[in-house]
Amino acid sequence: MGIEPGRLQFSWISSAESTKFVEVVNEITTVIKALGPHENFVKREASIA
């Protein structure tokens, strides 16, 4: 629908896998920071008459 690849990611992490959790979060934040803010789906004041 127009969301860049990488902005939405899924991961399956067990509560025991703390290292994986940290890794995934770091990786995702890097990817998203590189993409920058997503402006499209942000609603500000309704654009109406």
């Binding site: 127009g2 860049e4 990611q9 899924f10 399956w12 609603k43 309704a46």
Partner: protein
């Protein structure tokens, strides 16, 4: 297909006379060209108002949800698939319906035909293979195959998948159709192009909810767009809200949509709303080998779990 009507009437009369059903849901002749109106018939005397032609595109399964009577219902391939979905989702009981199956050769696209005519069409004469349209100063004979609704043109389930009576021999199913050409086209766009594509697609939406309300799947007592606590979606003509409505509605139909075309047919603004649901229909086919409404025996992919469900997207 025009000859079906005698058999539809005969079955309806019998069902009503023998009190097998309280009503038969079918179509009566419309008041404008290329339109018929869904109706119910409760007495044998009224059966004669039923009609059948290529203008019976509305999905009658939409009229079944939560009804308590015993109902005879005229059902094309797509209608029958939505009846299956209704039964699976407990919106109607199998023994409550007598399905009068109609092997379908496709319904014609009224808006498309209107756009092809040079002036307003005042009369339409249908034969088995042609549609003849007449208006002030023009007359045209069209090949029915060329003017089908888009979903009918690529339909591979024309015969009812579930029925109690069949009004004619089954028709040959289409095999050499490309069902997802338009979806592939959108898939090939870049994220920005996709965004613009849908922005443009929805630019004329008036939020009448015709697409939602014509859809047999959209039977929620309160739709998420109408919720006030919490209010998920704004109520104005803001484009973010309009887009949210269409995408979320489509997702709610994932694994359930039969591509019956009811949404697109209903849209007064001619928006190709099937482009939202079709991608999900395609994904369900490719990921889960699933087409909605073909069987009462299996649960739809989104409300069941199989160990071999694809999970490559999870890292």
């Amino acid at each position: 297909m025009l000859s079906y009507i005698d058999k539809i009437k005969e079955i309806s009369r019998r069902l009503l006379k023998e009190s097998k059903v309280d009503m038969v849901i079918g179509f009566r002749k419309g008041t404008v060209v290329m339109m018929n109106e869904p109706c119910f018939v409760k007495t044998v005397a009224d059966v004669d108002k039923l009609v059948w032609d290529s203008n019976c595109g509305i999905n009658l399964a939409n009229y079944l949800a939560n009804r308590t009577e015993k109902i005879g219902i005229v059902a094309k391939g797509c209608d029958s698939r939505n009846i299956v979905t209704h039964i699976i989702e407990n919106k109607i009981k199998r023994d409550q319906v007598v399905i009068i199956g109609v092997p379908c050769k496709g319904m014609i696209d009224r808006h498309n035909i209107e756009a092809m005519a040079e002036a307003e069409i005042q009369e339409v004469i249908e034969t088995d293979d042609t549609i003849q349209v007449k208006g002030a100063g023009f007359e045209k004979t069209l090949d029915k195959k060329e003017v089908l609704q888009e979903n009918c043109a690529i339909c591979v389930h024309r015969n009812p998948v579930i029925y109690d009576e069949l009004v004619a021999d089954e028709v040959k199913e289409q095999t050499d159709v490309d069902r997802y050409e338009d979806v592939r086209h959108i898939e090939a766009l870049s994220p920005e192009e996709k965004w613009d594509f849908f922005e443009d697609l929805l630019s004329t939406c008036i939020r009448c909810y015709g697409c939602r309300n014509a859809c047999p799947l959209c039977y929620c007592p309160t739709c998420f767009v109408d919720e006030s606590r919490p209010q998920w979606v704004g109520k104005s003509q803001d484009s973010t809200d309009i887009r949210t409505f269409h995408f979320l509605r489509a997702y709610h139909c994932a694994g359930r949509c039969t591509d019956c075309g009811a949404c697109e047919r209903a849209c007064p603004m001619g928006i190709k709303v099937r482009l939202f649901t079709k991608k999900l229909e395609k994904d369900c086919l490719e990921l889960f080998d699933w087409e909605a409404g073909l069987t009462l025996e299996k649960r739809p992919p989104l409300d069941t779990y199989r160990p071999d469900d694809p999970d490559e997207f999870i890292r």
